[in-house]
Symmetry: C2
Subunit: 384 residues, 2 copies
């Protein structure tokens, strides 16, 4: 390809065709010339978050992954099962860029003073299409990293840190005093644990494996329950009694866990109940499903009274609800604590071409604790 435009580069695309084939490929695109209030960022690090995988793979059956071609010309495909196609209807035939967040260096700017002030700076960006070599974005979407911070250190500035802070903020705004988190050994869960320890908030961590209990305890967590333990329900109730948590954020989404948490909260509340009410405790119990690590249906037995709620929780609408001023305060905290509270770890850094390879997908697609991967869109790119 000819590269006479310094903003021309590769971008990862996900396409689901009307016949049910998912196709991942790299396309060459020109990042637009910056408007006065815009800058062009050379992206050097972008994490693959669980929230990115939904757009990347859709409802495709990962056992059907195949790849043809090689390097940046590779095309990887998979089948979307017929039963899942209804949920894909809105995106059929659209070649979609992927990558919610990333970080890189500002290589060109518009004419405004605010934009020009960013030239050469290392910035973090939330704005989609981050699995691209170059991105043109508004200057106000950039968060300037502290001196000395690398793009890799700032790549996950937004999704996980703001989600973790958003959970604590939601807890406060909805009148709860402690919270529950599932898949608590995740990168996000470890951040939330650090935030809660720092802010003196009681947190019940639910994990799936014994070794994750040790990991969180070593990080100072006081309440850790493993759903693999035969005493899980009793352990959970005791932690809920100890903390008084009546709101939970569940990353698994499917299966019985969300309902078990409501059941546990009700049991904990009833331990101190003075009088029987057939409608259960009058204290509102809430579980927000913010992820879907467990893709099976959600199922619960309604044995937790009538004062309960379950619902979706998503970062962007939450930030819209709290408004720009409160959002900015959260972002500033992330920048201030980037190398401590909000530090992320990655198991690998891969190129755009590597991100298409089935062997790489098999690793980063498993959504396992400790397997988070960083894409470096300008790695291994031969100058044209």
């Amino acid at each position: 390809m000819s590269n006479d435009n310094p903003r021309r580069g590769l971008q990862l695309r996900s396409l689901i065709k009307p016949d049910g084939e998912l196709e991942l490929s790299l396309v060459s695109v020109d990042a637009p010339a910056p408007a006065p209030d815009e800058v062009v960022v050379r992206i050097e690090a972008a994490p693959i978050n669980p929230s990115d995988m939904g757009l990347l793979f859709g409802a495709a059956d990962m056992d059907t992954l195949r790849s043809t071609g090689s390097g940046t010309g590779a095309v990887t495909t998979a089948r979307v099962p017929e039963r899942a196609m209804r949920a894909m209807a809105g995106r059929l035939g659209q070649s979609l860029p992927v990558g919610n967040e990333g970080a890189g260096v500002v290589i060109d700017t518009g004419t405004s003073a605010a934009a020009q002030a960013l030239l050469g700076k290392t910035v973090a960006v939330l704005g989609g299409a981050m699995y691209s070599q170059y991105r043109t974005i508004k200057d106000e979407q950039c968060l300037v990293l502290p001196p000395g911070a690398t793009p890799a250190e700032g790549a996950s500035c937004f999704v996980n840190p703001l989600t973790a802070l958003g959970m604590v903020e939601t807890m406060r705004r909805e009148g709860h005093k402690a919270l529950v988190h599932t898949a608590a050994a995740s990168n996000l869960g470890q951040m939330l644990n650090r935030i809660c320890i720092h802010d003196g908030i009681a947190l019940v961590n639910i994990v799936r494996k014994p070794e994750q209990v040790a990991l969180l305890r070593a990080a100072g967590a006081k309440h850790v329950c493993s759903s693999a333990s035969p005493t899980f329900i009793e352990d959970l109730i005791q932690a809920l009694v100890d903390t008084g948590a009546t709101i939970a954020f569940d990353a698994t989404g499917g299966g019985k866990l969300a309902g078990q948490i409501l059941t546990g909260m009700e049991a904990a509340l009833n331990r101190s109940a003075k009088e029987y009410s057939r409608y259960g405790s009058s204290t509102h119990k809430q579980v927000y499903l913010y992820g879907g690590l467990d893709t099976s249906p959600t199922e619960f037995t309604r044995n937790f009274g009538m004062a309960w709620g379950m619902g979706g929780w998503l970062l962007t609408p939450f930030l819209q609800r709290i408004g720009p001023h409160a959002t900015q305060a959260l972002k500033q905290r992330v920048a201030d604590e980037l190398k401590t509270t909000f530090a992320s770890r990655y198991s690998a850094e891969i190129s755009l071409a590597e991100a298409l390879q089935p062997e790489a997908i098999a690793r980063y697609g498993q959504r396992a604790t400790g397997a988070k991967v960083l894409i470096h869109p300008n790695k291994d790119i031969a100058a044209a």
Copy 2:
């Protein structure tokens, strides 16, 4: 029994013993002498609502019902399965009176002018323990029925009418413009249908049987979907497109229906979507579970984006939230439209003794449309 106290009478009690036996019986109690702001009501009609049955029978297995003794001395028992005993923990060993609402005649009053003004009046009361011959209650809890209205006509003044009005009020307060109701051919559902027709609100009625479609259509309902139909999901989506309903009240609670409604709402919203969002429509979709006609677990597939909520809905906390002024306005509407919008029908009127008989329970306990029963606590009571 001796009856030298004119306020002494029988009261139906439900007791679950720690060993798991449910026991229904009649006990003789003295209604307290009225305080200055209280009145004594001779209860002549009290409905058995689904919400009463939860307290009456708890989690007992209805196939194990047995009765010993006869008449007002009968004792009826049933077994609560071991797995359900945790949910009963709060009421074990307590002999609980039953009956949320009823109507009757004021036979004695306290010394206040407001109380004395009620003497001889036929009133409706919400206050628990209505399956009693006599109830002493605050004058302000009484709703004076319109001239000529009988206790039977006023017996269901509160639970169903206020619940139906509360659904419409919740819809308005939470910013929705149309609503969905399940088990829509119920007494409550027919009321809601009349309210919505009167107020010009679009209502999607979901029923379980073809004959219930005809019943609601004959009552003027425009959108009626039968979950027994092979085209149910498509019919539901079309009705949601036509009405724009984004809030539902589900009486069944268990099974897949609540989730299907959310799925249908999302599909309806996506028909007019301009752009794909992997997180689904940004319009909030809400289903409130206000009953549990289906006692199986609740199950749903999360294919309706992230802007959704599910939760319990209960009349009393709702009325507390809207406050006494708004509550009084709803009550006045019920009194004004008692013989039209809020008319109830009953399949039988039974005595307290009859309410204990397994054959009667087999009828009124089935919670079927058109099988609502009225208890007349002063029927067939021999003067002592």
